[in-house]
Amino acid sequence: MADKKKTGLLASIGDSQIWKSIFRTGVPVTRRQRMMGVLNSVFLHLHPVRLPKHAVKLKYTWCMGGLSFFLFLVLTISGILLMFYYRPTVEYAYTDIMDLSEQVPLGIMREIHRWGAHAMVIAVWLHMFRVFMTGSYKPPREFNWAVGVIMLFLTLLLSFTGYLLPWDQLAIWAITVGANMARATPFLGHEGPGASLLAIGDINLVSMTSDIRFALLGGRFVGEGALLRFYVLHCVGLPFIIAILMAVHFWRVRKDGGISTPV
């Protein structure tokens, strides 16, 4: 039935030179066109052309990996928009955030970004949960599981660095407490076990201004330096790394034989 040649608006668009130059195939009606459509698109060919039947079932994947990725995209877009109005300095940060909801029409961009971030953390956990429950981490997918764990960690870090940016009470105290844990890192933090062993004569190599916490905060306490460093990590550094890992992750899903199938 689908193979019957239709003539109509849709079909003539599909036959036009512009459409064909972009999508190569016409409107995907025939089996062949549908397969070629997926194969020829740089985005769609993340997917294979054909899948085992259970792999498209919601009941199997919960679509949680896909939703994690979608939420990441939502966060990227809303985050870029927020950057137009937000200045990462102690002087402006708080008031800029306050102004966001008042001065911009339809000011829910901040809400979308914040609740989207919460949703992404949950989605990534649930995705891991489903991968575990279907035993999909077993060979040959061990490596992709490990990549996933790192992305889970990065998702939490992204959320954590973003937490500081509104520069309100919630923000600085959560980060103060969090960053002070870094101070206790063995050997690398100045209040960590073993740090006092790293000394030349009287000079401590790992001190308040030369330990891992300082590298994170760019200062002795959560202040101007910390705000800027967290901002840069949140907006550029961590998204950059996680985007690369996502590319690896998706590539590996396919190279490891696609969505896991009963063996």
Partner: protein, 160 residues
């Protein structure tokens, strides 16, 4: 080229490569630590000893400098307001005669000694001396830790 010589050159090459890579990463790490810090000055005058009431915890410099000043019959000391657990700012509860940290519940006596909650050690004290004009000078760049026995050093306590 002789085989021997080739191997020598090869190892020199690899060593140079490793050295350059190592140097590069050292540079990246060093880049995280600026030479100059734009943070408020570390030492300041707080007034004359007689400005402080006996046996009271003075909270006037908590907000601006993050120190408490305590004057006892023997003298004065400057306590850091940073909880030794994870760095929250405890509150001075006059009625209970203790500092109580809101974050995880650590309690410190007026002396700064910890006695309850997760804090692993007492509050830190800062260097406290008399300036030439007779005012009390607090210097936060020098700190004294009880568990290292440093509270006995002369500058940890200002005898008046």
């Amino acid at each position: 080229m002789k085989r021997r010589k080739f191997i020598t050159w090869l190892s020199v090459g690899w060593l140079a490569f490793a050295g350059a890579t190592g140097g590069f990463f050292t540079m990246i790490i060093r880049f995280l630590f600026p030479n100059v810090l734009f943070e408020p000055p570390q030492s300041f005058k707080v007034g004359f000893p007689s400005d402080f009431q006996l046996n009271q915890v003075d909270e006037r410099f908590k907000q601006s400098q993050a120190v408490w000043l305590v004057r006892t019959a023997e003298g004065m000391y400057a306590l850091s307001t940073v909880c030794t657990h994870l760095g929250c700012t405890p509150n001075w509860l006059i009625t209970d005669n203790k500092f109580k940290c809101p974050c995880h519940g650590s309690g410190f006596r007026k002396s700064g000694i910890n006695f309850e909650g997760p804090a692993p050690r007492p509050l830190e004290r800062y260097r406290i001396v008399l300036a030439e004009d007779g005012q009390v000078l607090v210097d936060k760049s020098v700190k004294f830790q009880y568990e290292k026995g440093q509270w006995d050093s002369p500058e940890a306590f200002l005898t008046t």
